[in-house]
Amino acid sequence: MAKILIVEDNEMNRDMLSRRLARRGYAVVTAVDGEQGLVAAETERPDLILMDMSLPVMDGWEATRRLKAESATQTIPVIGLTAHAMTGDRDKAMAAGCDDYDTKPVELPRLLEKIEALLGGSGTSG
């Protein structure tokens, strides 16, 4: 069972996303800001991270940069989530090191496809 870390500051979004993913059979852990996200990534060793980009304390871009700079966490795929589908956000997320990118509100089937694609690839321990 793949473990997904959701880093999201909005409580409802966090709750909703985690419940919907849990219904699909994923193990879900959550963090509420970038710093906590980093800690959770270290301790929980998730198979994939859903990272909101606008986060308090440390934003998603910075958190992703740090994840990708750290040898222990750099293989964990990160899907960046931003609130709006402007190209700039996508580029920024990819430049920060995200492996993929999606917009909020998530369209679950599409997001699931992206998750599956990243988990199905190499670098996940299952």
Partner: protein
């Protein structure tokens, strides 16, 4: 040079005269008329002189004739008298005496002619009188019979007198003739001098008249040109300068009016611009705030739908679907509004890349097929087999096409929706047609306006935000293309987007609003890096590296664009490729270094060449070979982005101040220090506003909180970004208190103080002067 300056002075002096324009013109006209009169008078005087001399000469001629007559008469009188005396008959004697008398009268009359010769003539007369006396005596003697004695008297007394008379009359003639020759010479000289005088005077007058005309005209044309130039600048949106016109006439008044209008327009423009920016910022924030709860609405309704399906609660499904659809619709609206506000604020960026048309069409097909099918429509794609690429913004093109195709599907029932591509030499057309309800002329007229669906009732029947076409039109224009529409009510519509195969980089500036100068983004003061490279992949890579380091990036795809963008945007640092078409990197480097306004910008040469020596000797700051080592490029940029000003460090602890100074020194910032709030205000009062205030909270005297409160009362300083640097453990209430007034809170003893400071100052305005100029 001096002449020109004098000329300018004179023109200004004339302009400065406090008369109305017609008065000046009248004065100039009168001056010229006066000159004409004077020239005429001078000519007349010369003519009069010439006439007088001519009269004089005629008189002289007559005089000479008279003298000659006298000379002749003298000789003949003497001869006649001598003959009569010899003949010795009474009749002859009488006749001779009569003639002699007559001659005397003639001599008398000559007095009126002679002037200069009066004395000579007097002597002639004297001799004549004596001669007459002698002759009378001789005649008496002859009549008395004393012929011998008469002969004696004649020979001894009359003959010398006759000789003397002849000599004198000769002299008389000679003198008159000599006078006349002198008179002719004098007259000729006088005429020559007078002619020269008149000519010189006429030339002088003409020159003066021309100069006067020129001065007057320029004193009038100059301000017109000035005002015209200013009006052109105003039309271009530059309200900064004023017309400087020395005139104190109607033009002075006009210039003053133009200045006043310009000022008012400028103020109005600033207000409008500020209002527009506030509106955009408000919309952007609002959109974000609205989306967050919407996410929850949509997400939870979807989840409930899934759960209802799982548990067989089918009666809830339609209502849940309505909640979700309404949520999605609202979301689309918000997204469109945000797009539009970004476009209007000039903040919509373009991301130009090679777009594979075939792939794009396929992507569009997969999205549109279900849309079209839902209205019972057929969706056809007509495009040539060979489709190349388009250098454009992929997302915006796709969004535009989807907007049009979505509309076509929405407004067509059981018909046909088609997308056709036509590739021309340097442009590509995307033709979206449908067989739907079409539009009337009037509806077409307001088609591309925001919030204007063809009919208000359309929104209710067909949904949609009414913003799609307005956005599509903006996108097409940003990409250097255009959109046109043909439609007939009831017979369907055809929209055509035509884009250039290569959206020019200049288009990047297109969405900028009328403002001639780029304005600093409200909260984006990060250092600006300009990446110059003609090869798109390579340029994008560099830009990505730079963005990742937290800088703003502008891209230029050739040398000329680089120079104009550098001037316009005042990049903080430039990475420059060498091998480029037209203007190569060396030329750009040389041009940058010879421009006073640009030469301070550090330039990093990034090239496959190995000409480090050339690069550095031309003034490049660093030299990096391709392929680029990310870390090295980042380090070089970091080292060379200049801090652009002063950071005021307010801290009572000298150790802390030193630490900050060391870190910021390296980044090129100037540090000013103050030991408490009061000290800081003293510094502020005596210096230009700093780029940032780094504020400790716990200080003796005025502490950080008091300082923040106080600075809020000073409009001139309250916009200075304040960053708190504190060792104090802050409670939630304190954090909240500080949050509204400070940019960031840094804790003393942070692991990576240098890094935190660097990231903070990177976002600062480069310098006050750069901002003010921008």
């Amino acid at each position: 040079m001096i002449g020109r300056r004098l000329d300018k002075r004179v023109i200004e002096a004339v302009a400065h005269l406090p008369f109305r324009v017609q008065t000046k013109l009248l004065l100039a006209f009168l001056a010229i008329v006066a000159l004409l009169v004077v020239v005429g008078a001078a000519g007349l005087q010369v003519l009069t002189g010439v006439n007088e001399r001519t009269v004089e000469l005629i008189r002289s001629e007559r005089k000479i004739a008279a003298y000659r007559q006298v000379q002749h008469d003298t000789t003949s009188q003497l001869y006649r008298v001598t003959s009569a005396l010899l003949a010795n008959d009474n009749r002859s004697l009488d006749s001779a005496l009569r003639q002699l008398n007559q001659f005397g009268y003639d001599l008398e009359r000559l007095q009126f002619v002679a002037k200069d010769e009066g004395e000579l003539l007097g002597r002639v007369k004297q001799d004549y009188d004596r001669f007459v006396a002698v002759i009378n005596k001789v005649v008496e003697l002859i009549r008395g019979g004393n012929v011998a004695e008469a002969r004696e008297a004649q020979l001894k007394e009359a003959q010398p007198l006759a000789n003397s008379m002849e000599r004198l009359t000769n002299q008389l003639v000679n003198k008159a003739e000599a006078d006349m020759v002198a008179g002719i010479d004098a007259s000729e000289n006088a005429y020559r001098t007078a002619k020269l005088d008149v000519i010189l005077f006429a030339i002088g007058s003409i020159a003066f008249a021309l100069l006067l005309g020129r001065t007057i005209s320029w004193s009038l044309v100059g301000p017109i040109n000035e005002i015209d130039a200013r009006l052109s600048r105003i039309a271009e949106g530059d309200f900064t300068q004023r017309v400087a016109v020395p005139n104190r006439d109607e033009f002075g008044a006009l210039a003053a009016n133009v200045n006043r209008t310009c000022e008012q327009l400028g103020a109005l423009y600033q207000q409008l611009e500020a209002a527009s920016q506030h509106k955009s910022a408000f919309l952007a924030n609002m959109s974000h705030e609205l989306r967050t709860p919407l996410n929850a609405v949509i997400g939870y309704s979807e989840m409930l739908q899934e759960m209802a399906e799982d548990e067989g609660l089918d009666q809830f499904l339609p209502d849940l679907a309505k909640i979700r659809d309404a949520g999605r619709h609202l979301l689309n609206l918000i997204n469109d509004i945000l797009d539009l506000s970004k476009i209007e604020a000039g903040k919509m960026d373009l991301y130009l890349e090679e777009v594979d048309l075939k792939a794009l069409v396929e992507e569009v097909r997969s999205i549109v097929v279900p849309l079209a099918a839902s209205g019972g429509n057929r969706f056809d794609i007509v495009c040539p087999d060979q489709l190349g690429t388009l250098y454009t913004d992929r997302t915006k093109l796709k969004q535009s096409l989807l907007n049009l195709l979505g509309n076509a599907s929405k407004f067509t029932q059981a018909g046909r929706v088609a997308l056709e591509l036509r590739a021309g030499d340097d442009e590509v057309s995307f033709i979206v047609s449908d067989t739907g309800i079409g539009m009337t002329e009037e509806q077409l007229g307001r088609l591309f306006q925001a919030f204007s669906q063809a009919d208000a009732s359309t929104t209710r029947r067909y949904g949609g935000t009414g913003l799609g076409l307005a956005i599509t039109k903006h996108f097409c224009e940003m990409l250097g293309g255009r959109i046109t529409v043909e439609s007939e009510s009831g017979a369907g519509s055809t929209f055509t987007i035509t884009l250039p195969t290569e959206s020019a980089p200049a288009m990047l500036e297109a969405p900028e609003p009328v403002a001639a100068t780029p304005r600093p983004a409200i909260d984006d003061h990060r250092a600006l890096v300009m990446v110059v490279d003609d090869d798109p992949p390579s340029r994008e890579l560099l830009a990505a590296i730079v963005r990742r380091e937290g800088y703003r990036v502008i891209e230029a795809s050739d040398g000329e664009a680089a120079l104009s963008l550098a001037r316009e945007h005042r990049a903080d640092i430039i990475t420059l490729d060498v091998l480029m078409p037209r203007l190569d990197g060396w030329a750009v480097l040389a041009a940058l270094k010879s421009d006073v306004g640009l030469r301070e910008i550090p330039v990093i040469i990034v090239t496959v060449l190995a000409d480090r020596g050339i690069a550095l000797s031309l003034g490049a700051t660093e030299f990096i070979t391709k392929p680029v080592d990310r870390a090295r490029l980042a380090a070089v940029i970091r080292e060379n982005v200049r801090g652009g000003g002063t950071v005021l460090v307010v801290d009572d602890d000298p150790e802390s101040r030193n630490l900050v100074r060391r870190h910021l020194d390296k980044l090129g910032w100037t540090i000013a220090e103050a030991t408490d709030g009061g000290d800081a205000f003293e510094w502020l009062a005596g210096n230009l506003p700093p780029a940032m205030i780094l504020l400790d909270l716990m200080m003796p005297g005025m502490d950080g909180f008091a300082f923040l409160h106080e600075i809020g009362n000073h409009p001139e300083w309250r916009d200075i970004p304040v960053v708190i640097l504190t060792a104090k453990q802050l409670g939630a209430a304190e954090r909240e208190l500080l949050a509204g007034r400070t940019r960031e809170i840094i804790e003393k003893g942070a692991d990576d103080l240098a890094g935190v400071l660097r990231r903070t100052v990177v976002r600062l305005p480069r310098s006050k002067s750069a901002l003010a100029a921008g």
